[in-house]
């Protein structure tokens, strides 16, 4: 039973309420579903809607995305056009109008496709708390969350050079469905071979994971079918797949190499 919903108009006030035990709520797509089913843990909610932590800014290729930026705003942003396909693979328009970039860091797989992208992009996360601010790599937040009283305020990423960003999400239906396997990657090539690779996978572990084994296979080799098949099989060592209503662990591991290849070759 909810006893209070606060909508602070400053970050400091939001941090204060969070430190006092309030449950943070950004877009509400997770928390309000819990409120509606009577399963939210805390009686006090703290909405971040008016805390002033939205907005997208670009400095060269360095993008800073405020935590309460909605997925719809990312979808419409010319600066982040490379993320458009990824964002449109998430839920539906009426969810994307509410769901936020910050919130996407905290949903369990197989949801959280933007978090998978941020992992591939080597993004960092700005966090404000009662003891001050810090900035950490996104995989730290994905693994550990944030401390009580802390509020994610923004993510920072480098917009990838043209031709280096890859994204593919396998779903049970064409739109509005969770990941069976999601692949997000920033891969650079020169002279016909891979020179750098950051590949993140969704849908195949409780949190987004780096496919380090696949990255290792690709370095120095061309992005061709047999190389990608080998990388995909190697990637099975990086995952901890689970059964759920969408697909079984067996199936996810089985088709991972197929979808890894399709992310690069179509």
């Amino acid at each position: 039973m909810i006893t209070a919903v606060r909508t602070p108009e400053s970050l400091a006030a939001a941090v204060g309420h969070a430190a006092a035990g309030g449950r943070l709520m950004a877009g509400g797509t997770v928390v309000m579903a819990q409120v509606n089913s009577g399963s939210v843990g805390s009686p006090e909610l703290v909405s971040l809607r008016r805390a002033g932590i939205g907005g997208i800014s670009l400095d060269g290729s360095a993008a800073r995305i405020g935590a309460t930026t909605t997925l719809a705003e990312v979808e419409e942003s010319p600066e982040l056009a490379f993320l458009r396909d990824a964002v449109r693979s998430i839920a539906s328009p009426a969810i994307r109008s509410l769901a936020t970039v910050g919130g996407n860091l905290f949903v369990p797989q197989p949801y959280g496709d933007l978090a998978v992208c941020l992992l591939a992009l080597d993004a960092t996360v700005e966090i404000a708390g009662p003891d001050g601010s810090r900035e950490v790599p996104v995989d730290v937040v994905l693994a550990n969350g944030v401390a009580p009283g802390e509020v994610v305020t923004a993510v920072r990423l480098a917009v990838p050079a043209p031709g280096t960003w890859f994204y593919h999400k396998a779903m049970r239906r064409k739109l509005n469905s969770a990941a069976i396997v999601a692949v997000a990657a920033v891969v650079g090539t020169a002279g016909g071979v891979v020179t750098s690779a950051r590949i993140a996978l969704g849908g195949v572990a409780p949190r987004p994971v780096r496919a380090v084994s696949a990255e290792g296979v690709l370095i120095g080799r061309p992005l061709e079918t047999d190389v990608l098949d080998e990388a995909g099989r190697a990637a099975r060592g990086d995952i901890e797949p689970f059964d759920d209503a969408y697909a079984s662990a067996w199936y996810r591991a089985r088709v991972l190499p197929v979808h890894l290849r399709r992310a690069f070759l179509g």
Partner: protein, 157 residues
């Protein structure tokens, strides 16, 4: 904390009502304001029957804590007809047999209005994406997509 007074501009009218903490926009529309078009289907944002326009954008109103949007403008199906005349989307649904039990229809029409407000000349793919969050159990979706494309054509000069 007691109920809060919330002000919204709903279908171009200023409305004021009380909301207990945690009340959704959907509950306020239906229970406080008597606007029954938006439906309770799943309370989780997975069915789309609660879709309304919030500051012009389609949202799952069951997932919006109404106190957090104090001062916003909301458009529901009740605000779509003009002077008692069905608008192009409503007329196209009716004449295109795009409704059977009607439970999804309010949400479908609001998703369509949101689309056409931004994109007056949508492709079939645009329409399909616009309604991708609205579940229909009766029609098989085809007539609904056709009706929205028909409405777009009627609305264009």
């Amino acid at each position: 904390m007691a109920s809060q007074v919330v002000n919204l501009r709903v279908n171009e009218r200023s409305r004021e009502f009380l909301a207990a903490p945690g009340t959704s926009l959907l509950s306020s529309l239906r229970d406080a304001l008597g606007l029954m078009a938006a439906k309770r289907g799943c309370a989780q944002g997975s069915c789309g029957t609660c879709t309304v326009l919030l500051d012009g954008r389609p949202v799952m109103s069951c997932l919006v804590a109404v106190e957090t949007v104090d001062g916003a403008s909301v458009r529901t199906l009740e605000g779509v007809a003009r002077d008692g005349e069905l608008d192009e989307v409503q007329a196209a649904f009716l004449e295109g047999f795009a409704t059977q039990c009607g439970f999804c229809t309010a949400g479908m029409i609001m998703s369509a209005e949101a689309l056409l407000d931004r994109n007056p000349d949508p492709t079939r793919e645009d329409v399909v994406e616009a309604i991708s969050g609205n579940v229909c159990r009766c029609t098989g979706y085809g007539p609904i997509v056709d009706a929205i494309l028909d409405a777009a054509a009627r609305r264009r000069p």
